[in-house]
Symmetry: C2
Subunit: 349 residues, 2 copies
DNA sequence: CTGAAAGCGCTTACAG
DNA sequence: CTGAAAGCGCTTACAG
């Protein structure tokens, strides 16, 4: 009842490299090599060690590792994305950094002009590698500068990955196709679309997927049913006013992110239109705003937190390899998206 | 250009306890004692050590400390607050945990019924102390259960702190007074109010402060100008419809949090009212939604992230003292709030 | 009140 | 391909 923090009883597992070594009949060194993916271990030895690790449910003690090799510092270079997107990204990145015993360094840069300085600040703070979310990961200059100084980095949520840079993303094109097909399956034929910031590569793919899927269904997309947005709530307001002032009105609006979809609902309510009875609205990303507004948004869940986690792992791996002098080629990961049907969508006329 | 990660050149400072010890003319042990606030150090020795620490800009290596004493685990027991509030809290708590070399454990519990189980899970995961945000920190049962098992804990953002439990908060009463005075100074006389969830203590104080301040200005608050909300966007929608259907309309609406204020703007736009020309709207908390909507919200900035950081420090201190067997009485911290005037407020009629 | 010694769990040269 | 030894920076009993 009292000794909740008994010393030595820390955490699950509790097995050390020595326990694993003894069970596998090798030295602690060899266990360490296996854990760190060192190439110079025979297949047979590796298997014995892996078996012992699994039997003992061994987990490396990150604190001890960090004490030995120095704390890994992961930089995150961010640039004015939506608040909701940013917090999901931060939570995922911070959590995985703490799992890896790494420290997260945040640095904001607004224009491309301030980007060079932000990178220099990150280096001065001791960053060992950098995570690059949108829109920076879509700017060739940013990636080039990072590459020039040999800094390991991973692009997060870019829609058009460069093969030479590691990247974690979802398939924006297929996600938008899935949403469009869903709207069609509900019986909608007259669907309007709100485009996102043309500087972001996902915006382009989401739009292309929408048009293609509509055309495949034999439905034309007249120019007036497409409004240009910038991914902000405010731009969504303007786009929605434009779209909903038309006669006849579309029966559904597919906004290419949640902030803009939330704005569409606000404008619709302003015109005394019921959502989804009079108008179906859907978004993309599944950020917190999707469940803040009412009715809650039907949207494509982009696992931003998981993407950040995977990106941290990829980056840490890259940093380790770099230190050990082992070359590592850029890894690319595609994570699954999900269509989340909530209350903002309903049957077409 | 290439050796960005020179081994040994880790981070700022680089001085160790030994460097400090040598400069201060004492042993490393003594330095450690000073760092950890151990009482058994003479005043003179402590001063010498502190001076050396300052000269060398020494910072403890959290990784090494964690390797020795085991990673500190900080539990966070949360329960369906607004998404925006939660992410600000998480970011602050995670960041400070990583500064302290502590690990953050998240556990959600929805009803009071699931609370006991959530606490048990946290203990099973090895939590050394627990952070309790609203609404749990306002539930006497929750705090009592934690106290019974002798678990260190800190309440975050409670409006009515219990003296026996450490707490970090802002002065909700003064914050709401400040906002009300601001509205009065703008020339508003007919101000409506949207109350928050009656279960949350901040909701009560914010309302009381509003009424008192109005009365001090010689202004009555008729019952129909007060609507009951629940801190959710949806409840704000209903409250705003009620308030804005009245004839004459109030010239300003003070919603007791941002989610509800955002809903007021949506309803106002729906009635073709311009904000702030036809109606001034303000919120409380300054969560991300305050800058997502348009016009951006005038609100009281509650430094949730900083509050979480301070709470983590208080908790870590409490845990250390408990381990060392030194009694520590519950600390209370009051952080400053700020009135942030944005675009949703303007001059009264 | 203060210190010498040992050890937290892991990894890095250095050998073989 | 594999291992014995030393050390990362800090703190915990144990003495004095």
């Amino acid at each position: 009842m009292d000794d909740v923090n008994k010393q030595g009883e820390r955490g699950p597992g509790g097995a050390t490299v020595y326990d694993v070594a003894r069970l596998a009949g090798v030295s602690a060194m060899t266990v360490s090599r296996v854990i760190n993916g060192n190439v110079h271990v025979s297949e047979a030895t590796r298997d014995k060690v892996l078996a012992a690790i699994s039997t003992l449910k061994y987990q490396v003690n990150q604190a001890a590792r960090a004490a030995r090799i120095g704390t890994l510092r992961v930089g995150l270079l961010y640039s004015n994305p939506s608040a909701a997107f940013l917090s999901a990204l931060l939570v995922g990145a911070m959590d995985q950094c703490s799992q890896n015993g790494a420290q997260l360094l945040l640095e904001r840069c607004d224009g491309l002009s301030s980007q060079r300085r932000a990178i220099e600040r990150l280096i001065a703070e001791g960053a060992d590698g950098i995570l690059v979310p949108p829109p920076l990961c879509d700017a060739p200059e940013a990636l080039r500068q990072l590459d020039e100084i040999g800094m390991p980095c991973v692009a997060v949520a870019t829609a058009r990955p460069v093969s030479s840079v590691a990247a974690v993303r979802i398939d924006d094109y297929e996600g938008a196709r899935t949403m469009t097909r869903y709207l069609l399956s509900l019986g909608h034929k007259d669907i309007a679309f709100i485009k996102g910031d043309p500087e972001h590569t996902p915006a382009q793919l989401r739009y292309q997927a929408f048009v293609t899927t509509m055309e495949e269904a034999g439905l034309a997309v007249p120019p007036q049913r497409v409004a240009q947005g910038l991914f902000t709530y405010r731009s969504g307001l303007a786009a929605a006013r434009n779209l909903l002032a038309q006669e006849p009105r579309p029966s559904a609006i597919f906004a290419s992110n949640d902030d803009m979809a939330a704005a569409v609902i606000a404008v619709a309510h302003g015109m005394h239109l019921q959502v989804p009875e009079d108008l179906t609205v859907c978004g993309f990303d599944d950020t917190p705003v999707a469940t803040t507004v009412w009715p809650e948004l039907t949207t494509i869940h982009q696992p931003i937190g998981d993407m950040a986690r995977v990106a941290v792992d990829l980056l840490v791996d890259q940093i380790r390899c770099r230190r050990a002098g082992e070359p590592r080629q850029a890894a690319h990961r595609l994570l699954p998206y999900t269509l989340v049907a909530r209350e903002s969508s309903g049957g077409g006329a």
